[in-house]
Subunit: 624 residues, 2 copies
Amino acid sequence: MTAVVDTSRSPRARLRPVPIRSVRLQDGFWEPRRQLNRTVSLREQHRMLEETGRFRNLRVAAGLERGANSGKIFNDSDVHKWMEAACWQLATDEDPLLVERVDAIVELLEQVQEPDGYLFSPFVRGLRGRRWSDGEAHELYCAGHLFQAAVAHHRVLGSERALDIARRFADLVCATFGEGRGKLDRPDGHPEVEMALVELYRETGEARYLDQAEFQIQARGYKRLGEPYAGWISADYNQDHRPVHERDRPEGHAVRDLYLMSGVADRLLEAADPELEAGALRIWESMARGQVYVTGGVGVRDVSEAFGRDYELPNETAYAETCAAVALVMWNWRLLQLTGDARYADLIETGLYNGVLSGVSLDGRAYFYANPLACDGGLKRRPWYLVACCPPNIARALASLPGYLFGSGDGVWIHQYASGEARVGEVELAVSTAYPWEGEVQVEVRSGGRFPLRLRVPGWAEGARLSVNGADASVPVEPGSYAVVERDWRAGDLVQLSLPMRVRRLASHPGLLENASRVALVRGPLVYCVEQADVGGADPRFIVLPDGAPVEPVRSDLLGGLTVLEADARLAVPDAGWDGRLYREAGAVEPEGHQPLRLTAIPYFGWANRDAGRMQVWLRSSSG
Amino acid sequence: MTAVVDTSRSPRARLRPVPIRSVRLQDGFWEPRRQLNRTVSLREQHRMLEETGRFRNLRVAAGLERGANSGKIFNDSDVHKWMEAACWQLATDEDPLLVERVDAIVELLEQVQEPDGYLFSPFVRGLRGRRWSDGEAHELYCAGHLFQAAVAHHRVLGSERALDIARRFADLVCATFGEGRGKLDRPDGHPEVEMALVELYRETGEARYLDQAEFQIQARGYKRLGEPYAGWISADYNQDHRPVHERDRPEGHAVRDLYLMSGVADRLLEAADPELEAGALRIWESMARGQVYVTGGVGVRDVSEAFGRDYELPNETAYAETCAAVALVMWNWRLLQLTGDARYADLIETGLYNGVLSGVSLDGRAYFYANPLACDGGLKRRPWYLVACCPPNIARALASLPGYLFGSGDGVWIHQYASGEARVGEVELAVSTAYPWEGEVQVEVRSGGRFPLRLRVPGWAEGARLSVNGADASVPVEPGSYAVVERDWRAGDLVQLSLPMRVRRLASHPGLLENASRVALVRGPLVYCVEQADVGGADPRFIVLPDGAPVEPVRSDLLGGLTVLEADARLAVPDAGWDGRLYREAGAVEPEGHQPLRLTAIPYFGWANRDAGRMQVWLRSSSG
């Protein structure tokens, strides 16, 4: 089945997945983006993989071309991720060119793979001796991406070829790493292989892949506790400082930690481990309480790409890597399968509409690596990066998006709202909505029978209402939970969920001192920001939004069609009385004067799609 | 002469230095710290140099011991900096043990030095081929520190031995680097040698050393423009992205940039270069306007140890390396010699009393590398570091401190106030004050004659008064300038400067959004902070200091004797209504309740000298 994560036989999954192929998106928000992903992003990325030598590295490794391996040591992973993305896209779309290119990659990988199963282009031939010698070489990280690509390939195209490659390599990994005599007892420096091994287990039924995932998880923190790392890298950077079950917060390189957490959740879906589960949930709670941007961005520190302390959420220097937002969605998706708890689906929603989507330009041709919440105009999306993890990551997130909307198991679950048709288990549904621009969601049940229909009421949707065939559903409609309607359904029954789309001003916890006396404007799942282009060139840092000022949604043609927010605000004259000083006595001079300003805010995902200019999410409010 | 920077013959110096030996500190603030530096810090550091293999590296390089070079590649520099510190300390103190240890180092360095003058322990013998092959190897950085140590040794002890070592090495550097055929035309990755070469020129009269400094400065930015660096290191990291005269802001690794700026200032003291000078002053202005903490700390970013954007001054993650504060003092000292402008002396004062002094514990045994302005209790000073630049840097700053107080040239300049006696040019003076605790400064002129006496009126000292023999001096006493009294002095004349020591609440420029609605308490040159230990265990992040609340200085025995600040404040109950959420609707619930709290603030330099606890410099104020 074409499930993104196939928990259909996982003993501990509360939810069963709905195959991508069972969902036909017909909405005006996501599906155009998925098609852009297919027709522009995946094609341009393929060109970059060739131009930047990623394919050449594989051809050299296969002996098809002469030369040396070049670029970053983990460059193979970009090819694997691109292949995975293309496969998910092919679950819903006919695209012979993509099929041809995927086939060519599989053929190339077959030629690169060594007789014992090893497949990592930097360490073939003369450099064979370097195999497994360096935990930071990303061998297992690349292996994990290869496994995920092979699983997607098998699920979508039904071919065994890529899966066979993955099995051969995974068998070598199992023979190489573990507790036994002569085996390497250290985990990889960059988690990723854990979740990939669990998926490979699900796809093949080979228990040793699950055992190897278990080893990779359990080996963390035991083997190198307290051992110093090179330079500025400390043991918590790659989660090697403490075993997961002893931890109580997200730590280190964010993508590494979130991939690890995804693997942990996958592992927990297969078998109980109360200690490990308690650790994973502590880490999630701690992250949600003090380390997530309002956009769903995570990993606050640049350079080290790491999580910070509680409430360390700087706006302008926010790292919030696109890959970390994608990884956050992956992790929360697995926790949602495990628990059916709406808070995970809420965070997926926040991430998808904001922190993930800001990672790609509206034309599908350029990407952000970092996604800050304030910018002086110096950032611009780029078509590619020397470290190019983000472009194919966002491509696979968009390609697989239909797989994240519904759930099966104990009835029908609707996690995210977008127009389209779906088959969930035995049930046919049609969803009709202008979400995220409007809050009305209509679900037509097209199959009869008794089952609970579960609709997520987002945590922000205070005052949501639910009706069935025009009459109040008379069930609890609590924000942050699934409203459940269980009845004898008849084909043609209409369920209407009304989510109030009032503009909300969010404040930050007082521990987040940088955001004191500031608000973020949010409507539905969308976080808004102010760009210099929309406020007559004013510096958004000095805009003051008075507490009582009405903020109105206005449908606009801006940037291809957006609902913008408008309000009467004020602009402070920032330098009055400062004379170039950085500090002065408080109250020594009159506060800076203000002039009136008509404020227009756009959805955060749309920022930086015009000429360079300042941007700000958190606006000054008039309350102290 | 025992000048820290000998500008006594520099053509463009407005000020002439006063030798350390001409100043006899007798105050209760600095001199006890200098003695602790001599009796504890320098001795403990010497022990660490031995225990951590720094001396062993030199013995191995000299062939006196077998083994391999170990530790960081720049570890020689710690030995050189320790030697420099010890020499400055010996300018005022008898200390046979220090003399013996300095002699031993000089003898060892003689044995390490190769016949052609090269002296860098990692690249001797078998590794000779690596000489000068890597700009990041810190060879010239270490050379610079060696030259500075040798200059201090010559000035203080009068011996030629270390100076001869330096000359031989400097001659090799001159023969190796430059524009000529067969020479290396790239500068070193870590600036430092520039200022050292200028000082070596001053000490020896060899013009080629000045020329080499000029080359090292001018080579910056030309040779590797646009060239990418390894990993996260970009060309601006080590100031190789643009020539100094084209720059307009501080950039990259802060210590590197400030050492470079010190070298540029030294170079400008020797010969005019209007373009270079304009660039240097632009960089200074930009830094002062947007990149200096209120403590005088600089270099805001951790990991990259770099300057940030304008107004990027995060409190809790502040890097503000101790070495950068020392380097800031060094740079501003040179600019002060060049211009006589009080703003440089003001910044030296801020740095010394706050950002530099916080780098060492009150017992002289432990050091901070980073000096943040807020802390969750997780930071502790350590006796040593793997990268140990800070301990000997603070030791040389304290040892040489008497050299930073006075100036000669066009009269007598008093830059910093501390009790003691000095001979400035032909003039004998005695200063008597309880500064920084009290603002009364009495200067007794002990020599007759006509000359201008210049006393710095700190930029913060609004309302300062000046009298001569009890009568108003009738001269301008403007904050941020030198008050000048020129008269026919008679021995015994008494000049009294009264600096108002009212507690000031500082606000930050509105561009520094993190500090909106917050104040820092400052009294005289001292920045204050609140530690959990002094507020009954309350979290200082949630203390609110009402705008009108009086803040009183109180003399206390705390931490060996400090003037603390006390006020009636409030403590917000931070989590009321948040239920573990990070964001919520503004105004959705009542603001958190407050309870009364008696606030005690201590000088920032004294923080983290007790059990671990939270610390905060910028406090919430009641104004929005």
